[in-house]
């Protein structure tokens, strides 16, 4: 039998190669998500929403009904779908700018209302699509287009601890975790648990994925992995932060 690419069943083969840059972490997060959708057998129930920013390039990524929304507004659009169609599995896919800056109010309030949706947020420490500006997640001292002399924590604060913030707001029944593209299998487990949480109707579910942006970081493969595996975890702790029924550590 001829060898074929081993893509998740839920991926739309006709739109591959996908539109993300060489080495972009989105491909890995979406691979984990695709496999999770396959394993949970929910493809026909999924409604997939994506943001503005690089995440919008996934508008035709899956063989799932999908909607590309505005910057930061994916969470409310997907919330609207879920409230109208509780039988659907609703996924809001966004970047760190969309989730922690322009759309932070929506993320916070959806968590507070314990919306039965799954938000997946890709953290790559910068605004990718607009050309690499400082993001809420930019590391201290990190140079970007709008922090050309490095992020100054005196004036620009520290990286947003997204999952920790969401966990603090979310109700009992919510699932919150942080994974990384450096460990795709574990990331998939978290995404699967998040989706399962929605399927079980327990509450809001949120997974942040640490990811790479070789284009705007101007890194080669080696430096990209170094940044994801060594620099980012200094500020962003990988692991499950809130799971239903489990006492918080």
């Amino acid at each position: 039998m001829a060898v074929v690419p081993n893509m998740p069943k839920s991926w739309r083969v006709e739109t591959k190669p996908h539109k993300f840059c060489p080495g972009c972490g989105h491909g890995l997060v979406l691979k984990a998500l695709g496999e999770a959708i396959d394993e949970l057998e929910i493809q026909e129930r999924v409604v997939f929403g994506c943001d503005i920013g690089c995440s919008l390039l996934s508008w035709d990524f899956f063989n799932c009904d999908s909607v590309q929304t505005h910057h930061g507004r994916t969470t409310p659009v997907v919330t609207g779908v879920k409230r109208a169609r509780p039988d659907r599995i609703c996924i809001a896919y966004m970047g760190d700018g969309g989730g922690y800056a322009i759309g932070a109010q929506h993320l916070v309030n959806s968590a507070a209302r314990n919306e039965r949706i799954t938000a997946i947020l890709v953290n790559n420490c910068n605004y990718g699509m607009t050309g690499g500006q400082m993001a809420p997640t930019t590391l201290p001292g990190m140079k970007t287009q709008t922090s050309p002399y490095g992020r100054d924590t005196e004036t620009m604060g520290y990286p947003t601890q997204g999952p920790e913030m969401v966990a603090a707001i979310a109700r009992e029944g919510a699932y919150v975790a942080r994974g990384t593209v450096a460990n795709v299998r574990r990331l998939k487990r978290y995404i699967k648990s998040a989706l399962q949480n929605q399927i079980d109707g327990k509450g809001f579910s949120f997974v942040e994925a640490l990811s790479g942006c070789p284009t705007n970081w101007s890194t080669n493969a080696q430096k990209t992995w170094e940044f994801i595996e060594k620099e980012m975890p200094q500020y962003f702790k990988v692991g499950e932060i809130k799971t239903p029924g489990k006492k918080e550590e």
Partner: protein, 188 residues
């Protein structure tokens, strides 16, 4: 619109058409002429066909884009298909001879079609990285928008810091430029 020279350069993202366009208009501007350059850009940071629209003139330039170019250079199959809309009976259309499967996509109404082995020469005789500089040489030879000396000093201005570290790079770039001129001289 009269004495304005219009050039569309197109290739895959990463082939360096935008940097060539940038150097070309910079050279024209340094000569004291009017130049206008606008990159075509989509939402993606990478990937897709990249088109550079350049105009050079002795007077103020009109709209940033144009209907038909005096010269179109296309460096990939997708670039050929994307840019043939800018070709009419006054256009010189150049593509790289390594591009395959575009026989049916060649513009019909055209002044002259020319395939040049820029990629091949870059790979075999010079260095793959100066592929775009060969293309720049060809563009200058066809349009005469700047003279070679001015083009060299624009290259120097842009890449001087690299030339300082490795003087061989200067020679390589200048050779590529001259090679580009040779490839089209007497043919259009």
């Amino acid at each position: 619109m009269s004495n304005t020279v219009k050039v569309a350069l197109a290739g895959e993202g990463g082939q360096g058409v935008q940097s060539v366009a940038g150097i070309l208009v910079e050279a024209a501007n340094d000569e004291g002429r009017e130049a206008l350059y606008i990159p075509n850009f989509g939402v993606e940071q990478r990937g897709g066909v990249s088109v550079a629209f350049c105009q050079i003139s002795d007077e103020r330039i009109g709209s940033p884009k144009f209907k038909f170019a005096d010269l179109v250079i296309a460096l990939s199959d997708r670039a050929v298909r994307r840019t043939k809309q800018y070709v009419d009976e006054n256009t010189v259309f150049i593509y790289d001879s390594s591009v395959e499967g575009v026989e049916d996509d060649m513009p019909q109404k055209v002044k002259k079609i020319l395939a040049i082995p820029a990629l091949d020469i870059a790979k075999k005789e010079l260095h793959p990285r100066v592929f775009n500089v060969i293309v720049m040489g060809a563009a200058i030879a066809v349009t005469k928008i700047v003279d070679i000396k001015q083009a060299k000093s624009a290259l120097e201005k842009k890449l001087g810091y690299k030339f300082k570290q490795d003087p061989k790079l200067r020679e390589l770039n200048f050779k590529a430029l001259e090679k580009g001129v040779e490839l089209v001289e007497g043919k259009v």
